[in-house]
């Protein structure tokens, strides 16, 4: 069940990974083999089995609605590779 290159390109796009042709080919081959291995699961009879999402039932309650955080903007903006005037910057987005 080899993945076609269009699917691979689509996956890379979905995952926002700009991969060169050769890298894409290598990763594609790896993905093919992984998917073949994963396909073992198709043989299993999963009738009557409920999906297990969280291995232990969480018992922590929800948060009380109160403001516990102050202004961290200087610190947080300081972590960014591109921040100005109090904003995080990205290349211009047109809507």
């Amino acid at each position: 069940m080899a993945l076609d290159s269009a699917t691979l390109v689509h996956l890379a796009r979905l995952a926002r990974l700009s991969l060169g042709a050769s890298e894409l080919e290598l990763l594609g081959a790896d993905l093919d083999r992984t998917l073949a291995m994963i396909d073992q699961l198709q043989q299993i009879d999963v009738n009557g089995l409920e999906p297990l999402a969280q291995p232990q039932a969480p018992d922590t309650g929800n948060r009380v609605d109160s403001v516990t955080e102050e202004d961290h903007s200087a610190q947080l903006l300081g972590l960014s590779p591109a921040a100005e005037g109090g904003y995080f910057l990205v290349p211009k987005v047109i809507e």
């Binding site: 955080e69 903007s73 947080l76 809507e95």
Partner: protein
């Protein structure tokens, strides 16, 4: 020209910002208007290692909504990740609810004008977090991202596609807006983006049961523009189909200047959101006790109030509708009425008249009204017991608004008490008759119209304080007796 009769099919998805102090999954503030990124904490900025923890109040408010619309509240619902990349979405996914939302079903009754009502069924309502904001014009070649809004709790309310005109959609939006404010789950501030609606619009030949391709009109922030945008879109789709073209499934924005919808440029054709249950969050549990507690706290809903005003208080449909436009006005009216029992129409007139005008002029909401219902009841009581005329009452009202004191205090201070004492009135009448023998003669000769002039003269002489009905009676007696 086409022979096809087209039917528009419209569904609305409304994003309602819930009235919590802190965010859906973090303890940062949700207060509007702060400097950029000052209300964003490490969790909101999605720093590595941070984790979400759900806000109990947001869950409670969602339950309140579900109960108010007669929906099914899921005892257990699940948070899911909606994965996509956008700069205002720090984690690269939005925590929302997908297959198992907290509220399912329910309906809203909507008055669509001319005494007609429709019932709009709801598909579901679910909890999710809001994204941040982009600022496009402030930076050269760049877009600025403000994450203050990121993580604010939203209730997304999805209607069934059961509306068939822009007017119906706008009426539904207004009704829903009133309801969420009424329930105190949202402040409904359209300018601040607390209440936003996306409209899904498609058309089909009349009588068809399948749905046509739909477009989504996003983020229109006023009732008027929603109606205009949908109107335009319906016409556009009809034009397209009648020209033999097909409708492209896409997201569109409303261009207010051109009064048209146009496609959003940056959206891709189809998102693959790769939803899966969020492993960082336990299921949302709503125990029966929480449901019952919220049910007990539900206020009388707008429709029930409206009906009560019509039936029990005998108010007109117009008055009832205006008074139940928001909960604060209805509450003010009822507090006022409790101070002047049996005077529903008088109270309605004053709330919708003087009070409303004064609030508008001062740009106040009714909760900021400087005259409390009990104080206004004092004033209306003096009209009812004849101490002052309605006309004088308006002056007293103005004085009370300006802070001169209670109704009685103003009446006493300005000597505005209506003259009901017969001897004083007779004296005033006799004075006027003596000064106006010609007009008196005209009346006795059969000129009924001159009576009004004479009344006016007595009113002037008493500086408006004469009790009108008593004056009429006594004037007639005096004229006839002389």
């Amino acid at each position: 020209m086409s022979q096809t009769q087209w039917q528009a099919v419209i569904g609305l998805e409304c994003h309602v910002q819930l009235l919590t102090r802190s965010k859906m999954f973090s303890g940062a503030s949700t207060a509007y208007g702060a400097d950029p990124n000052t209300h964003a904490c490490a969790v909101d900025v999605a720093l590595p290692g941070t984790l979400p923890v759900a806000n109990a109040e947001a869950i409670r408010l969602a339950v309140r909504f579900g109960l108010a619309v007669g929906a099914h509240i899921r005892p257990m619902s699940v948070f899911a990740r909606k994965n996509y990349f956008y700069p205002d979405l720090p984690k690269g996914y939005q925590i929302s609810q997908y297959e198992e939302p907290i509220v399912e079903g329910g309906s809203v009754r909507v008055a669509v004008g001319d005494g007609r009502s429709i019932t709009v069924a709801l598909t579901r309502a679910h909890l999710e977090e809001d994204a941040g904001k982009s600022v496009h014009d402030a930076f050269h070649g760049a877009t600025g991202i403000d994450l203050n809004r990121a993580g604010t709790p939203l209730l997304e309310i999805v209607s069934e596609p059961v509306m068939h005109s822009a007017a119906e959609a706008a009426a539904y939006m207004k009704t829903l807006h009133r309801l969420v404010r009424w329930l105190r789950i949202c402040d409904g501030n359209l300018q601040e983006g607390s209440f936003r609606c996306d409209a899904n619009v498609s058309i089909r030949p009349e009588g068809d049961s399948t749905l046509g391709t739909r477009t989504e009109i996003k983020n229109v922030n006023s009732f008027r523009f929603v109606e205009k945008a949908i109107e335009y879109e319906i016409e556009r789709q009809i034009r397209e189909l009648e020209a033999g073209r097909s409708i492209v499934q896409e997201t569109r924005l409303y261009d207010e200047a051109r009064q048209q919808t146009r496609p959003m440029r940056s959206k891709e054709s189809a998102h693959d959101y790769r939803y899966f249950p969020d492993p960082d969050l336990p299921p949302v549990v709503v125990p029966a006790e929480l449901q019952e507690a919220e049910r007990a706290l539900l206020p009388e809903l707008p429709d029930a109030r409206h009906a009560r005003y019509l039936e029990a208080l005998q108010l007109s449909a117009y008055d009832a509708g205006q008074l139940t436009g928001d909960r604060e006005t209805a509450d003010y009216f009822e507090a006022l009425l409790s101070g002047v029992p049996g005077q529903a129409k008088l109270c309605a007139n004053w709330v919708l008249g003087e009070v409303s005008a004064a609030l508008n002029a001062a740009q106040y909401d009714i909760v900021a009204c400087p005259i409390a219902p009990a104080q206004l009841a004092g004033l209306l009581g003096r009209i009812v017991d004849g101490s002052i005329s309605g006309k004088i009452a308006k002056d007293v009202f103005t004085a009370m608004w300006a802070g001169e004191g209670s109704a009685d205090a103003v009446i006493a201070a300005r000597g505005l008490g209506q003259i009901s004492d017969d001897s004083a009135l007779v004296a005033a009448i006799d004075g006027v008759l003596a000064a106006s023998p010609e007009q008196a003669g005209q009346f006795r000769a059969g000129d009924e119209k001159i009576f009004t002039w004479l009344v006016g003269q007595v009113m002037r002489a008493t500086r408006g304080k004469a009790n009108p009905s008593r004056l009429n009676q006594l004037l007639r007696e005096r004229l006839q007796s002389c």
